[in-house]
Amino acid sequence: MNEFKDKTDNELVVITLQDEENFMYIMERYESKLLRYVKRFTGVTNECAEDIIQESFFKIYRNLNDFDNKLKFSSWAYRITHNEAINYIRKHKNKSDKNVSIDAGNDDTTSLLEILASDINIQIEAESKELQEKVRQILKKLKKKYQEVLILKYLEDKDYTEISDILKKPMGTVATLMNRAKKQFAELAQKENILKYIDHE
């Protein structure tokens, strides 16, 4: 087991293609990361997020031969999961058999606010459960395309190249979306009175 821990993602892909058992190491490496990402991105319940991850892993496994070594495996895995999450939401949007309620329920929204605050020169007025809830509400109010880039940048710690690869958008578009997302987030935060002042310059 330990010998596989030191292997790179690309090496794990190669050995998985030789023996399916080795796919476990890839899954273990990414399960919690992708699960967290799906919950942040979609706000679905844990059960729904697990369904999405399961389908994503099948898709990753089926498409291993299409993985481009020039791409980071994590970007590729995030891309597949991202698309799977979007498909899942679309599929279950109008069905009553599955609960796809938007219930973020995680506490790291505050950290998003903190990172954003330092990034766009804003000061946080208070830190409390109420604040976390407000941040969540603001995130929900943002357009999906803005949520995506903010989550990937500030919560998943992805750089612009990785975000570009995950969302399949040009770098310039990612940068534009990021700026607009931050601006819109800051404006909404101001309306919600959770910021003392905003200085975009």
Partner: protein
């Protein structure tokens, strides 16, 4: 071992799920590339044909083919090639999205690139007459296209508006030509006072457009003569009559060879 990972691995083993073979992805990529190249090439031919239609049209006489209040320009535009160009550009932008890393360029650059490549290649095809040859081959081998284009080219036959078009079937001392129009009808065309192209040489089998007026039945006095591609005169050359029905005894065909 986490539950999700465990379940996935168990299902992979139980259902004997295997990664899709590499060759299938390779084949798919080849198909996408071929489709992209094909759509760009067809788009380029469309541009070339549109250019040859635009530069080959007698715009100063387009008004003569207008009818029922509809301007002549409406009848002469090569719609089918505009549509083909639109479809190929749409297809190439869709196919380009399926090429790895093409997303790095953005849809506008991909679309703009397709347009630019089609314009450049199309201009080359036009300049080398390759697009014209392609169009001719299409006429000869694709009957629905042929009949559609013939209907369009036939618009230029408008004796009531002082314009006839046809193939020279006989020549009388360089002042009177006998042409067969698109219906096979023979016309005597008086060209004595007509303005002619600088290198005009009446040769049997050549296509001409005559602008002037009908003097009497089957007799046309031309004010101007223009050369026309015989391949773009509908129904030609199979309709060249061996004699001109309804005319006085026809002059013997004089070869210019």
């Amino acid at each position: 071992m986490n539950n999700i990972s465990k379940n996935v691995l168990e299902k992979i083993k139980k259902d004997h799920i295997k990664p899709i073979p590499h060759w299938q992805f390779a084949l798919l990529h080849v198909v996408v590339w071929l489709g992209l190249v094909a759509s760009i090439v067809l788009g380029s031919f469309s541009v070339g044909i549109v250019l040859s239609e635009i530069f080959g049209t007698d715009w100063d006489h387009v008004s003569r083919i207008g009818r029922d209040g509809i301007p002549g320009i409406v009848f002469v535009l090569p719609y089918i090639w505009f549509v083909t160009l639109g479809i190929t550009l749409f297809l190439s932008s869709i196919l380009a999205k399926h090429i790895k890393k093409s997303y790095k360029f953005g849809p506008l650059i991909i679309m703009g690139g397709s347009v630019l490549v089609s314009m450049i290649l199309g201009s080359i095809l036009y300049a080398t007459h390759a697009s014209e040859n392609f169009e001719q081959a299409l006429r000869q081998n694709f009957a629905p296209y042929k009949s559609m284009q013939e209907a369009r080219d036939g618009m230029w036959m408008a004796p009531e508006n002082g314009m006839i078009i046809g193939l020279i079937i006989s020549i009388d001392n360089d002042t009177m030509l006998i042409i067969s129009d698109i219906t096979g009808q023979a016309w005597e065309v008086d060209i004595e006072a007509a303005k002619k192209p600088r290198k005009f040489e009446p040769i049997i089998g050549n296509g001409i457009m005559a602008i002037g007026e009908v003097i009497e039945e089957n007799l046309f006095k031309a004010d101007e003569i223009r050369m026309r591609n015989p391949n773009k005169i509908p129904g030609m050359p199979k309709m060249i009559p061996t004699h001109a029905p309804g005319l006085k005894p026809i002059l013997p065909i004089v070869s210019q060879e």
